[in-house]
């Protein structure tokens, strides 16, 4: 059985799908890694929902500015060409469909693109949603970045989400360590396979009927 690719490789793969000039929001957690792989010579404008476009990388040691944080409350920097705005304007920007791409983590994604990524519904947990629901329904394209399986070996791709939903039919594409899946009207379609993974393996791991894009086959065979 195959093993898939690592998280950094996956972040690099996602970065390849972000064109120059795109306005992008990278969700808290793993999606943040994508910024490490955006080509230095192409301008991609990062949005942080707490009120900034043109977000730069983490500051040098000693240069942390407590007034300059990202949505994960991590210190960041300001790129040339940046702008600041208040929270209602920032979320209007998201909800109004102005962001080209957002990359989010997930607990579960359904065959129809429903996303669950804010709550496991565990009885003793503190519920917290932040901007997840706004991002899920707002961006022109919603990418999910996740391992295909949970630590317990359960598929995060499901026929129907059992965790509390973040948004309905909002995910366009799921990047996992094993494959890339497009959400299509006919269900999930594999567009790229990683690390020797086969369609049969994916169907077994997910328990879902999957289709495969013709372009995906050579990658599998090579």
């Amino acid at each position: 059985m195959s093993s898939g690719i690592g998280r950094s490789q996956l972040a690099a793969r996602i970065a390849r799908d972000i064109p120059e000039g795109a306005y992008v929001n990278l969700g808290i957690g793993a999606p943040t890694l994508v910024s490490n792989f955006l080509p230095a010579d192409s301008e991609i404008i990062l949005h942080t929902e707490n009120g900034m476009l043109g977000m730069g990388p983490e500051p040098e040691p000693g240069q942390v500015d407590p007034d300059l944080l990202n949505a994960g409350k991590v210190p960041v920097t300001e790129l040339t060409g940046a702008s600041y705005f208040h929270h209602a304007d920032s979320f209007g920007m998201m909800r109004g469909g102005h962001l080209d791409i957002c990359v989010l983590g997930a607990f579960q994604v359904s065959e129809t693109g429903d996303l669950a990524n804010w709550s496991t519904g565990a009885p003793n947990s503190i519920p917290a949603v932040g901007g997840a629901m706004d991002l899920a329904i707002g961006a022109k394209q919603v990418f999910v970045m996740t391992d295909l399986l949970t630590r317990e070996g359960e598929s995060k791709l499901v026929s129907k989400c059992t965790y509390p939903l973040t948004g309905l039919a909002c995910v366009d594409r799921v990047y996992t360590d094993r494959a890339i899946f497009e959400v299509t009207p006919a269900g999930l379609c594999v567009s790229e396979l990683f690390g020797g993974t086969t369609l049969e393996e994916l169907e077994k791991l997910t328990g879902l009927a999957l289709s495969i894009a013709s372009a995906a086959t050579p990658a599998n065979e090579s």
């Binding site: 000693g62 240069q63 942390v64 210190p75 929270h87 209602a88 709550s119 949603v129």
Partner: protein
């Protein structure tokens, strides 16, 4: 002569009653009006409803107000943080109410209150637990949830500078909820690093016009600035 400047944070919060609804700006620690919260802690009002994005960090500021048992209810988007142990404990013990609102709906509901909008339809939250029980409407093929304005008796905001008319400018992402909260409260209290002479703030760059601000109090320059210039700081926890 108009002057909204008050001498102390104590004076700025002296008339807050038990049961008041208070908006508190800030996203995590950035833009949190810590001195005003501390003054409220000293002032004694209880049974408060707090509207804020988070529900306190560490043991200071909003967290201290919660720990003192002074807050009946929190309306926020993201109470759970790595250092939100005060809220977590109160919530698990059933000692505090929580109204959880998606962050964009929170911002927009506050704006609606300030802008005289009676309510609005938003796609955010449709089909989720947080949209449950709310009016749903299909608009142009997309389902929306009806959301209502959130008003407050007081808003505490943290800005960089003010003039005596109450015009405010902010600094970087510490702007966050300040400008909308200032519009939605009967009394907005702004803590600022410095009160500058009227005319010092460029009219083109005023972010919160003074009409939205009732009281201004200077609390001294934030410790990572000196003479208005960023001087660096080791980390966020200090």
């Amino acid at each position: 002569m108009i002057s909204k400047v008050v001498d102390s944070v104590g004076a700025a919060v002296s008339d807050i009653s038990d049961g008041a609804t208070i908006m508190i700006s800030g996203f995590g620690r950035a833009g949190q009006p810590v001195e005003l919260i501390d003054a409220l802690l000293g002032q004694g009002a209880t049974d408060l409803v707090v509207v804020s994005n988070n529900a306190g960090n560490g043991d200071h500021g909003l967290a201290a107000l919660l720990a003192a048992g002074r807050v009946r209810k929190v309306i926020c988007s993201f109470p759970r943080q790595s250092d939100s142990w005060v809220f977590d404990e109160l919530y698990r013990a059933g000692k505090i109410e929580l109204e959880l609102v998606p962050q964009g709906n929170l911002a927009e509901r506050i704006r609606a209150a300030g802008a005289g909008i009676g309510g609005f339809f938003t796609p955010t939250g449709y089909g989720t637990e947080l949209g449950r029980g709310k009016e749903i409407r299909e608009i142009d093929g997309r389902f929306h949830v009806f959301e209502s304005p959130i008003f407050a008796d007081f808003a505490f905001v943290s800005a960089l500078k003010a003039d005596r008319w109450g015009n405010l400018v902010y600094r970087k992402t510490s702007r966050n909820f300040g400008p909308v909260m200032a519009t939605a409260a009967a009394v907005t209290v702004a803590q600022v690093d410095e009160v500058v002479e009227l005319g010092t703030l460029d009219p083109e760059v005023v972010i919160t016009p003074g009409i939205f601000v009732q009281r201004v109090v200077a609390v001294g320059e934030r410790e990572w600035l000196a003479g208005g210039k960023f001087i660096g700081r080791r980390d966020l926890a200090q």
